[in-house]
Symmetry: C2
């Protein structure tokens, strides 16, 4: 019993000291920013903090998607100004392979993370690519998609051609109750 207590105390001491050093130096945790894409788009740090724009489920490839927007995109939605979207708006799509839920068999829920993909609106910078910078980072390591600038754009654009009439964006923002500031 004494031996058990001794090890417990050591563990507690180590645990406390670790917690202390972590709260003292939160910046010491090294997280590298993923590389920019071949078409020169910088990784949008902390996109996980962006707000919900919509969700979707694709039956053809069994994937679930959270569609999120940066603050400029959310403001555009609230003002009803999304065709065209204003410069500065960024839309993101987080994509997971779907699986059957363990406890609710008729529900599809996220399994493996596939990629995060983004559209950056800037009608001047991206005049040659429909007014948007197109970018995707693949997997949990967020590896840039596209071997060169041309393919990084063209793969996205060809798929989005059916929605050329709604500023190249598939997503219709989901209707939600008004925000209360």
């Amino acid at each position: 019993m004494k031996k058990v207590l001794f090890f417990t105390s050591l563990f507690t001491m180590f645990g406390s000291s670790l917690a202390f050093s972590m709260s003292e130096t939160p910046k010491s945790k090294v997280l590298e920013i993923p590389q920019e894409t071949a078409n020169g788009i910088a990784f949008p740090v902390n996109y996980q903090g962006w707000d919900t724009v919509a969700v979707s489920y694709r039956e053809d490839n069994q994937t679930l998607r959270a569609i999120i927007g940066n603050p400029q995109a959310i403001k555009a939605i609230e003002n009803g100004l999304t065709n065209p979207w204003p410069n500065g708006a960024v839309l993101g799509k987080l994509v997971w392979k779907a699986r059957q839920d363990t406890h609710w068999k008729a529900a599809k829920v996220p399994d493996k993370f596939i990629h995060a993909e983004f559209m950056f609106k800037d009608s001047e910078r991206w005049a040659d690519t429909k007014g948007w910078g197109w970018a995707r980072w693949v997997g949990l390591d967020q590896v840039p998609f596209g071997k060169d600038a041309e393919s990084a754009h063209s793969t996205c654009i060809s798929c989005h051609t059916p929605v050329a009439g709604q500023d190249w964006v598939f997503t219709q923002p989901a209707v939600m109750p008004k925000r209360i500031p």
Copy 2:
């Protein structure tokens, strides 16, 4: 031509003055906070700003869901401390009827907004209801669900019984790339 210019100028003047007065008094826009539920839970103002926890699609009732979390819930997920969830964590579910997307026939996307429902973790306050305060606000007007305190809780709890072993929460947080602070 002069007449057109005159009206344009009037419109511009009015537009500017409106924009000015709006930016001067943003608080003048009255948005009422929805009523608390019959079991005494206050409406979580600005939940639309919470981060994504997961998404789901229910084939049995054709609904799409965005699962979101308040900052305490997100911190618990990042620390892997979700069974049990810590006091203060709140999980939300925004639910829409699903419809076929207009331009991608094999995709389900949000149609009518059905309700926003929440679980508020407080193991002391809600000791009699599995450690959670259960709440739902229905429709775009966010009308509290449940005619009395008992029904406001029991309807939720009976449905969540299959997940008693995971602190009464269906959602397994979706795996996502690490945040870069």
